[in-house]
């Protein structure tokens, strides 16, 4: 049986500045890629997020992927969206994931199915992300299912994560929403990718004023950009992302754009570490996982505990 307590939680409690990254599971039934990535990333990160059919595209499940991470010696954070499963399936999968050794869950509403490869799908949204957080917490602390029925033994004891997007609107509500998530039971928070540092600092300022940085471990999300084209695409097409013109410009001018993207990401992490209340960094290098070690090293975050 795996340890009862999440390794990630222990690190936070020891006061470590945590580093997590993300692996996007494949669009097939092969787990060896996930295991290989895990082995490669293990010395550089404390835990790995496994996305749950991100952008509503069918992929190997986050729980399945999490088990591959465990097998390769890593610490998985399974993402769980409320888009595709009702409260029965969500709770059932939480039991299953915990029984397989998964200890961290990140609760989200998920990208709308209209972005994905099954646009005629019916979304579920029986629960929203905050209600899912509450459910995971109640299963652990009150030992009850969402219905109120008692879990007689072997309740899942997850370390509960949630996301926050300081770049979506309405801005002032973003902090209140973070507070709601924490009230519902979120213990760690991963933010959307930060490009607009000024806005993130304003967000953290409001969060600190409400004491939220003392109630949950807030991890700042970063994403290394591979090209000016990618930066422009995100600026124009991704809802809830703010990419300042300055970044697009800097990327456009660079001779070696991937190298510039890495450099920028390292600078961002160094700066984020100085912001009070930021307790870790979450590096989202989806489809560019191999770059994570260089970033972690460059940001001076080695060795990992």
């Amino acid at each position: 049986m795996a340890e009862e307590k999440s390794k990630l939680q222990s690190l936070f409690e020891q006061g470590e500045f945590a580093v997590t990254c993300e692996i996007g599971p494949p669009k097939n039934a092969q787990g060896d890629g996930i295991r290989k990535h895990t082995e490669h990333l293990n010395p550089f990160v404390d835990a790995v997020n496994l996305t749950d059919n991100q952008t509503a595209i069918v992929r190997l499940s986050s729980i399945g992927a999490g088990v591959h991470v465990l097998a390769a010696g890593g610490e998985p954070i399974i993402q769980m969206t409320t888009r595709d499963r009702n409260r029965i399936a969500l709770q059932s999968d939480l039991l299953g994931a915990y029984s397989l050794g998964v200890r961290n869950v990140l609760c989200l509403s998920g990208d709308h199915q209209s972005f994905g490869n099954h646009q005629g799908a019916k979304n579920v949204y029986d629960l929203d992300s905050i209600q899912l957080i509450e459910t995971v917490k109640d299963m652990r602390d009150a030992k009850v299912f969402q219905s109120g029925e008692v879990i007689k033994q072997g309740e899942p004891r997850f370390f509960i994560g949630a996301v926050a997007n300081p770049f979506a609107d309405p801005f002032e509500f973003r902090v209140l929403r973070l507070e709601k998530k924490i009230r519902a039971g979120a213990q760690f928070i991963q933010t959307q990718c930060i490009f607009d540092m000024e806005r993130f600092e304003a967000f953290m300022d409001l969060a600190r004023k409400r004491g939220l940085h003392q109630q949950a471990y807030i991890m700042a999300g970063v994403m290394p950009i591979k090209s000016a084209k990618a930066a422009k695409y995100m600026q124009k097409n991704v809802s809830g992302m703010l990419v300042p013109d300055g970044i697009v410009e800097r990327m456009s001018k660079a001779e070696d754009q991937p190298a510039e993207g890495v450099k920028l990401c390292i600078e961002q992490i160094k700066h984020l570490r100085t912001i009070p209340g930021v307790r870790g960094v979450h590096i989202m290098a989806v489809a560019w996982e191999e770059i994570v070690p260089e970033i972690v090293k460059g940001a001076g975050l080695l060795p990992r505990p």
Binding site: F115, D128, Q131, Q146, D169, R183, S239
Partner: protein, 223 residues
């Protein structure tokens, strides 16, 4: 009202294949107001179908009738005298009307001419929008009079997801319902209300419990 729109003509023609005499039935209720299935639309559809079938070398005979409401057995019964020699009824009502005709006349084949869309209202001439999700347990008191159940693409009950930007939902071109809620709450000085965590909704009161029935003994005739 219930908002509906005409099915594609090809689909209607296909559903009338092999029929030579059709009773085209309009409805004077909601679908009349939303310009989809009233007397005028029934007339236009009947003549369009006749012309199309003529061109196809398979002429169609139509009889037209528009009822005050198709969701009322009393009115639907008025069709009884019109069914003689009819192969099929083409109803321009919402799904309720089509079913009421089917229930009242078990021996009659009935097909819909409309797609029933939503419970909504006219925003401007030619534009209708959904406003009520018919969830069976109204939350509008908590959300400043803006319904997140139906106006949020994810039916979120605790605030906007991360895809809300500049007032728009990530599902374009929708407005973000939670931005609207936020605006109302902040104008009315009730933002604090949005800090309460709304618990899981009881969807059994919505369609998930199967077809819903409502009984009010104070108004039943034998009650």
């Amino acid at each position: 009202m219930i908002v509906a729109e005409a099915k594609p003509l090809e689909e209607i023609l296909e559903s009338l294949q092999g029929m030579s005499k059709v009773l085209v039935v309009g409805c004077g209720g909601c679908v009349s107001v939303c310009l989809a299935g009233g007397e005028k639309e029934a007339g236009i559809l009947a003549s369009t179908l006749r012309m199309k079938r003529e061109l196809m070398g398979d002429p169609l005979e139509t009889v037209e009738e528009t009822l005050t409401r198709q969701c009322d057995p009393e009115y639907v019964q008025q069709l009884a005298k019109k069914l003689e020699g009819i192969d099929c009824v083409l109803s321009l009502a919402c799904g309720v009307g089509v079913q009421f005709i089917a229930e009242q006349f078990p021996q009659t084949w009935v097909v819909p001419a409309l797609n029933t869309k939503f419970a909504g209202a006219t925003i401007e001439h030619g534009l209708w929008e959904e406003r009520c999700g018919l969830c069976g347990e109204c939350v509008l008191a908590r959300t400043g009079g803006v319904c997140p159940v139906i106006r949020c693409a994810k039916s979120l009950l605790n605030g906007p997801c991360g895809g809300s930007q500049n007032g728009k939902c990530e599902v374009k071109p929708n407005e973000c319902a939670w931005q609207l809620i936020y605006n109302r709450m902040s104008e009315l000085g009730r933002l604090e209300l949005l800090l309460d965590v709304a618990g899981a909704k009881d969807w059994s009161k919505s369609r998930d419990g199967g077809p819903r029935k409502m009984v009010r003994e104070d108004v039943t005739i034998d009650g």
